[in-house]
Every structure is written in structure tokens, then in C-alpha cells.
Point group: C2
DNA sequence: GTCATACTGAAAATGAATTTCATTTTCAAC
DNA sequence: GTTGAAAATGAAATTCATTTTCAGTATGAC
């Protein structure tokens, strides 16, 4: 169940983690919420992974650092991260909400293997242009779009072929 | 909550309804299932609307024709219709699965208003080409894609502006 | 340090999707 | 037309991710 990410640095620098934390802290202040150790831990854990995480998966990772942090707090913190632009939800259409880093990332889209659930990211400026164009045409003020491609990855096709010849 | 459809005829001709019914009946035979009055009623009701229906909405429409038909049967029949290509699921990202006619329709995409939930359909051949191109590049055998644009429609912007000036 | 306010997390609630199961219906073979 | 195995039906129960509640705890402005 690999969720390949094909751009940016393998791990975020200490500098970037600090910047992300500042963004969160400013957002908390702006909306009258409080800074907590749990929220910081969750943010740091989130930034450390390169994958597309469900709330449940992130919760499991967070628990390795602080077993006392509950699912609910992870859930609420992911919403906060999305609010301040550090995370964004990606729907892979399998009934589970996933989040990925948003801070400092190029706009991209996903191609998902419907057999094993793995995904690759790809870039396409055409899609963004299309959003603008269609919005203008039908007088919508567009805010975002989703574009996903579904199919079967090479590995799964090979496996499938192998099992058939047995 | 209009779900505008911008192509094909306003209502399906008797001829097309019959053809669709034939497709369903053939599919049932192919997979060893049985023809029933309920399935026919559900298909006809589905074809009569031009909207993107949730299972619940279709169930309500179906009940006007035959109050004895249950939610479960509608749910299962929609899956059957999707299997034989008469319907396809569209995810508007609000947590509810919707279905639309697929038979004899041009490939299209949706732009959804996040304020009132209405949607318009648009056509873009570029998106299908992109699916092919990206699939080739990363060695996926692509099967389908989803592309949705989200934004605020003209009506909602006007309403919003009006309420602000009061 | 005080105290109002927000946070936390376990548990409960929610709600759409799906499954179960007893009963009824279909349809192919006779 | 009857029969009977297989499938269909629909009410109810279940599942499962998400969201809310609430009683106890921590934060941070003063």
C-alpha cells in the first residue's frame, strides 16, 4: 500500500518543521485557540511522513511518541491543519478520508491502483487552467478541483498474470 | 439543489427506455439473476429523472409508484445498473453516493457549488486524453477518472452579496 | 497565582452503506 | 400448469468511519 510521493525533499528540514509549527501557532492565536503539546506532537508526526495518511494511520504513528494522545485529538488537529493550509484532504474514493502535506508543495494529482490501493502523484498544469476556463464559462467562482485517475498498476498486472498461468 | 444536465433530450423516448430495459434484462440473464417487477420499476423511475440521485432520493421516487419497494432493493438495483453500464456513481464529496444515467451519454464532468449543492455538467476531451497520457507514463492500465470543480455559483454569490448589504 | 476558557480523550452518537435472514417470487424442468 | 431449487425481497440489524458529548485537565491572559 505504497503512496509514492514524487517531489520535494525526502525529509523536511528542521527549518521547515519550525516554519510549519509557526503557521499552526499563529492560526491558533488568530482563532482564539490554545497551543498544546499534543497538537505540536501531531503536527511533527504528520510532517515526518511522506504518505497520504488516514486519521487512524496518523493516530497510530502519534501513539508511538505519546501513547496518551487519543484518536479524537488527532482527528481534530487534522482539521486544524487543513484550516491553516498545512494539510489537505485527498479523497481516494474508498470511503476513507486521507490527508497529505500541503505546505510548500507543488499542485499535483493522484493516480490510484484499484487493486492494491497504492498511488502515484503526477503534475499537470492543464487541469488548473481548465478549472479557470470552465469557471469563467459558467460564472462560478472556483475554489478547487479534484482530479484522480483510477487503474491497475504494473505490479498488480504482473501478479495477476503470474497467478493466472499457475 | 438543482443538478443541471446540459445535454441529450429532456425525456428519454419510449424506445430508449425499452433499450435500457433490454440491457438490464440481458445483464441479469448473463450473471444468472432474475427479472423482477421491482427491478423494472426502479430502472424506469431512474430513467425518468434527469438528476443525480442518491439511493435515498431514488427510493422516495420509487415509492410513489410502488410503496412496497424497500430501500434495500433500490440500493441493490443501483449496483446492478452500474454493473451493466446504465448508471454510474458520481461522488460530489459530501459523503453521499449519487448515481446518474450513463447509457448513451457523452463523457462529461461536474462543477459543484459548495454553498447550495447545485451542479452543472461540462465537457472536456482534454481530461480523457490526460488520463491516457499519464497512464502510459507510469505504466498504469487506466480504467476511469474523476474530475470535479468546486466553487460558488452565480446565484449564491448574488444572494450572499444581497444579505451583506442589508 | 487565579480563573475563565479551551483542551483532552473515552465513550457514545451519528449516519450512510452493507449484510442478515425469514419469507416470497421467479423460472426452468417436468 | 405444477414443482422446487435458486434468487429476490425488505425490515431490521450491523458495520464502520466520522463526529459529538461530557467530565476532568491544561493553558495563558491578567
Amino acid at each position: 500500500m505504497l503512496q509514492k510521493r514524487i517531489d520535494d525533499q525526502p525529509t523536511l528540514s528542521r527549518q521547515m518543521v519550525r516554519e510549519a509549527q509557526d503557521i499552526l501557532h499563529r492560526h491558533l492565536k488568530d482563532v482564539g485557540l490554545k497551543q498544546t503539546a499534543q497538537r505540536d506532537t501531531i503536527l511533527r508526526t504528520f510532517l515526518e511522513t511522506r504518505d497520504h495518511l488516514s486519521t487512524d494511520e496518523l493516530h497510530r504513528l502519534v501513539q508511538r511518541k505519546d501513547a496518551g494522545i487519543g484518536y479524537t485529538t488527532v482527528y481534530r488537529t487534522l482539521k486544524l491543519l487543513a484550516e491553516c493550509g498545512l494539510a489537505s484532504e485527498v479523497a481516494f474514493h474508498d470511503g476513507i478520508a486521507r490527508y497529505e502535506h500541503q505546505y510548500n508543495r507543488r499542485s499535483h494529482h493522484h493516480m490510484v491502483c484499484t487493486s492494491c490501493g497504492s498511488s502515484v502523484e503526477f503534475f499537470s498544469q492543464e487541469v488548473g487552467q481548465l478549472e479557470q476556463e470552465i469557471g469563467r464559462k459558467y460564472h462560478y467562482l472556483t475554489t478547487r478541483h479534484t482530479f484522480q485517475i483510477y487503474g491497475i498498476c504494473e505490479d498488480c498486472r504482473k501478479k495477476n498474470q503470474a497467478s493466472r498461468t499457475i
